[in-house]
């Protein structure tokens, strides 16, 4: 028995093409039935996310298996004006290696992201509950979840934030610990500022103030996010009370200066203030960072940290690949032994494996 894989991903196809082949969750069961009934496919799993559509199958004849997977995937596209090069196909052991890389986040658009593991678990659970997996794919997918866990636990592949919003949240947590008691103020209604504020809200910040030159815009944004709107002329009033200030105005000069903030910090009795300046031109005078208890980050410094995290992750690639290679060899050996066993010596199919998916 071989394990084969046919698919396309963000590496090979644009989103316009990927969406043609995508399998919606509601359609997953019937699609799995159709795939499972195809010639040469003994077991199958369909993985369909926004970044990839991949079909895995256990087959006695790789040639026939690939042909069936190709017909199935080709049938998904409503228009046929795509290049065949958008597909990749792998036979064992490359298919095994590919799956292990996918679940570990090494093939993801954001290197090391962990969402893919949950998506693959979901795809596998759907296939196994529909009786589309048995001995070979059960073992392969369960092993892949263990591999992903090992890679995440023992390397820095998931280390550090890789977007401006997540950098800001991580920094806030390194300053204040839990954000449940933190108060945030957004100055201006820039898009990045809004995204960052929403990310902070999702981490449970206590309250939010919004101030903008257009009070209507501030009120609308505050209403959407469950915050309080403040007239732009009065934005300095909550400075004593807030913990995080996000600047994203279109002002041509700094609106917050060291001269203005110095006396406020004295009144705050050195309670820390995290200032996130996302505006260009900048809203906050750089000298503000020299004040005790003030932590100022502008858009460049946030992006630099995101890049630095990505660099750390890239450096971990070799270690991850070594770990994966060990598991690929072990699984390939098992698969080879299975092939050489007489049919009567192979125990009956394993019980439905979705009950045994390890926790991430």
């Amino acid at each position: 028995m071989n394990v084969i894989c046919l698919g396309l991903s963000h590496h090979t196809a644009s989103v316009e093409l990927r969406e043609k082949f995508a399998v919606a969750d509601s359609d997953l069961e019937s699609a799995a039935d159709r795939l499972g009934a195809m010639d040469g496919v003994s077991e199958s799993v369909i993985i369909s996310t926004c970044n990839r559509v991949e079909l895995y199958a256990a087959t006695d004849d790789s040639g026939r298996g690939f042909e069936s997977l190709g017909r199935f995937l080709g049938g998904r596209a409503q228009e046929h004006n795509y290049n065949a090069h958008i597909f990749y196909q792998y036979d064992s052991p490359h298919s095994i290696r590919h799956l292990f890389r996918v679940v570990s986040g090494l093939e993801s658009m954001v290197l090391g992201e962990t969402e893919i593991l949950g998506q693959v678990k979901k795809a596998y659970a759907a296939a196994s509950s529909g009786g589309r997996t048995a001995r070979h794919l059960n073992k392969l997918f369960q092993r892949s979840f263990n591999v992903a866990k090992e890679v995440r636990t023992n390397t820095n592949i998931t280390r550090g934030p890789v977007s401006v919003g997540s950098v800001a949240v991580d920094l806030a947590e390194k300053i204040f610990g839990r954000l449940g008691s933190c108060k945030v103020m957004i100055l201006g209604a820039g898009e990045t500022g809004e995204i960052t504020a929403r990310t902070l809200l999702s981490r449970g910040v206590k309250s939010l103030f919004v101030s903008n030159r257009s009070y209507e815009r501030a009120a609308k944004l505050a209403g959407e996010m469950g915050g309080e709107a403040i007239h732009f002329g009065e934005w300095e009033k909550p400075l004593l009370d807030i913990d995080i200030l996000i600047g994203s105005t279109a002002a041509p000069h700094p609106v917050l200066t060291r001269e203005k903030l110095g006396p406020v910090m004295k009144q705050r009795k050195s309670r820390p203030l995290f200032v996130i300046d996302l505006a260009v031109p900048r809203d906050v005078e750089p000298a503000v960072n020299d004040l005790d208890g003030v932590y100022l980050y502008d858009i460049d410094s946030l992006q630099a940290i995101a890049q630095q995290s990505m660099e750390i992750r890239r450096k971990e690639l070799a270690v991850c690949e070594q770990m994966i290679e060990r598991h690929v060899n072990e699984f390939s050996s098992w698969l080879t032994n299975e092939r050489s066993r007489p049919a009567e010596a192979i125990p009956p199919l394993m019980e439905p494996a979705h009950c045994r998916i390890p926790e991430s």
Binding site: N154, N156, R159, G160, L171, E173, K174, I175, F176, G177, K269, S270, P272, N289, D292, G293, Y295, Y297, S301, A304, I305, Q308, I312, K315
Partner: protein
Amino acid sequence: MYALGARSYRTSGFNFMAILLGFLFQTGFLFSRGHAQGRCPLTNLFEVFIFLSWSVVGIYLVIGSSYRLSLMGVFTSPLVFLLQVFALLALPDTASPLKSHPKPWLELHAAVSIIAYGAFALAGVAGAMYLAQERQLKTHQLRTIFFYLPPIADLAVAIKRLLWTGFALLTVGLISGFMVGFDVRQVVWGVGVWVVYGVILQVEKLKKVSPRRVAVLAVAAFSLTLTTLWGLTFLSAGGRF
């Protein structure tokens, strides 16, 4: 520390287990020593430093996990190593002549005081962690250690609690010392340390200084205490039972 510098640090139960194992060995050593002498094993400089490092590790094991300050072990281990080196430097390990029978008050004074210094040592360790983390936040130069170190808010709370714990224990130590009366130099030194930490806690309570300065003071005060303890124990034969 090297692993952090080399960006190859991995959190693992092994580090904690190694510290725990070392603590058990220290406990066994101090127990057998105390059992053989029939008193608290604080009869010479060697034992004082072993007891101090034991109390540092003991307090770390108690508070390290409860404050989610797991990386504290990385900072504590070099300090414990240094204390053990001090202990070895204090060899030969000749038991000092016993001047009298064991005095419970004196033993209580010595043991509680050393544990208080253990708490001050941990406050210094948390202070060093705070300064390392705060510097990275200020300069935007985030190293691997940044992701493992706790938030500065948690560290500030830990420093404060450790200082209060040490201060309370030292107060008990001083009172028990007064019950038996002791060397003038020790009185001056003990009261001096008590006053220094009392002042730090008072200015912190009144919010007269920033958490960063409290961290600096915690590190400086313990460095001073350790240096003077070394000098005093050398000079003062009265400190031995």
